[in-house]
């Protein structure tokens, strides 16, 4: 029941019983708060009447379940001169480290997801959501293979009349660089370090799909269930994935520079090479 605040700059991370929130004051009267959560979509198994199952090619969710932390969630907070970071273990298969760097306005979230349990025979497609009170009117923006950010409107296409059969999958887009949304007072941008799926299915909300583990093949050509494993001497288990996404809150129109410059840096990481030297025999 302890509330904890992390971050010494413009961006604050607030931890409470309700979970993690990011908060940024854009002016004295304009504070934007984004709440982070995890959930999974239940992959469709297909039915007699409608045999199409969710699989490697086909994303066909059959409901969504929130992922709440199991029992007493452990939170480790490390504060230092360069950055503060918070280690969170939501359950035995989801954990994350959130970092706030000194002098930077964004949060870095390093997620670790897996092995996704499938003992219950349910296909799971794990997502993380950022929820705000922004009034986005069904509009959000996603990159086009790393190039221009293109306007997306929920349940709408500019060049044909869209019949919505899949309200979730029909609004999902590939995210290679990032996704953002804005209203009259603020803009929330999310950049990724790998290709993921993403959408904004409710106003003021952004979600990313981080990992999937299926129980059925979608019969679209692979002929094998999407169920990646790692095999150790004592048996095989589901794949664990580890990646990062970055979140920044700006005034409207001010996030573009960050998305371009920081996005370039994400995809051109500093390269480290190591060697040894004798004492101060400087090479």
């Amino acid at each position: 029941n302890q509330n904890v605040e992390v971050g010494q700059g413009n961006l604050k991370l607030l931890y409470s019983e309700e979970g993690m929130k990011m908060s940024r004051f854009l002016s004295t009267s304009n504070e934007v708060t984004a709440e982070q959560s995890y959930a999974y979509y239940i992959g469709s198994n297909g039915t007699d009447k409608d045999p199409q199952a969710s699989g490697a090619y086909v994303f066909r969710p059959d409901g969504e379940r929130p992922i709440k932390s199991e029992g007493e969630a452990q939170l480790t907070i490390v504060r230092g001169p360069l950055f503060d970071e918070v280690h969170q273990e939501l359950n035995s298969w989801i954990s994350q480290i959130t970092r706030v760097y000194k002098g930077k306005d964004h949060a870095e979230i390093e997620f670790t997801v897996g092995p996704i349990p499938v003992d219950d025979d349910i296909s799971k497609e794990v997502i993380t959501k950022l929820t705000t009170t922004m009034k986005t009117n069904g509009t959000f923006y996603t990159d086009s293979n790393g190039r221009d950010f293109i306007k997306r409107v929920r349940d709408f296409r500019t060049d044909w009349d869209l019949q919505v059969y899949q309200p979730v999958a029909g609004n999902y887009y590939p995210i290679n660089l990032g996704i953002y949304m804005q209203d009259k007072t603020s803009e929330l941008s999310v950049l990724v370090d790998r290709a993921v799926g993403g959408s904004s299915l409710e106003n003021g909300q952004i979600e990313l799909m981080l990992h999937r583990r299926m129980r059925h093949d979608d019969i679209r050509g692979v002929g094998e269930v999407l169920n990646e494993t790692v095999c150790l001497p004592d048996g095989c288990k589901g794949l664990t994935i580890k990646g990062k996404f970055y979140v920044q809150i700006d005034k409207p129109g001010e996030g573009a520079k960050w998305r371009r410059t920081f996005g370039q840096q994400i995809y051109s990481p500093l390269l480290l090479a190591f060697t040894e030297q004798e004492g101060d025999n400087w090479i």
């Binding site: 670790t112 290709a195 190591f274 400087w282």
Partner: protein, 198 residues
């Protein structure tokens, strides 16, 4: 080098290389080929850095050509080059290369086995660094994957991650030296654990 570019292009042709729309044995084959490509690229980079660092020191003592190692598994905090306990009198040199055409100041992280380490820049001035604990889950994943893919347990167990800010010029590199002071200069950054139904 020509093989490297041809192979990279060939691998990039099919979405199966990254999308999950492939059988497990195909995914494993792509992983193998990407790994082979990375090893080839690593050799090119190592020889380039060796050449550049030798050129830099040509006015001083002749450098016979330094061997550089990389750590492709830094994402799971596994880096034998930085984790190995430094033998007496030796320091670890980290070359940080920036492939972008503007100056960058970024925090880099390397796993280390000692907590008594300091970082100096190329002028010998100590730079601010931060020592962080490796979480239990990171250690578990790291040990599992190293065992699964390299067929061995990590020889040197890193207990900490050393972080410092690297300042790197456009399309260039900066060197930093990590040395073990041999004395307990400081502990890890202040940390505390809190439990609750958060």
């Amino acid at each position: 080098t020509t093989d490297l570019l041809a192979d990279a292009l060939a691998i990039a042709q099919h979405h199966d290389a990254v999308s999950g729309t492939q059988r497990q044995h195909v995914a494993a084959d792509y992983a193998l080929r990407l790994s082979i490509g990375y090893l080839q690229a690593e050799k090119v980079v190592a020889s380039s850095l060796s050449f550049l660092s030798a050129a830099k020191s040509s006015t001083e003592k002749k450098n016979p050509g330094t061997k550089f190692q990389q750590c492709p598994l830094l994402n799971i905090s596994y880096c034998p080059a930085s984790e190995a306990r430094l033998s007496s009198g030796k320091s670890l040199v980290v070359v940080v290369y920036n492939s972008i055409g503007w100056k960058r100041e970024e925090v880099v992280r390397v796993p280390v086995s000692s907590e008594n380490v300091i970082v100096k820049d190329s002028s010998g001035k100590e730079v601010v660094s931060q020592l962080l604990p490796l979480s239990d889950i990171t250690l578990r994943i790291r040990n599992e994957y190293v065992k699964a893919y390299l067929g061995k347990s990590p020889r040197d167990t890193a207990k900490h991650v050393l972080a410092f800010t690297a300042s790197v010029p456009p399309l260039g590199f900066t060197t930093y030296v990590i040395s073990d002071t041999g004395r307990t200069a400081r502990g890890p950054s202040s940390s505390y654990v809190t439990s609750g139904s958060t």
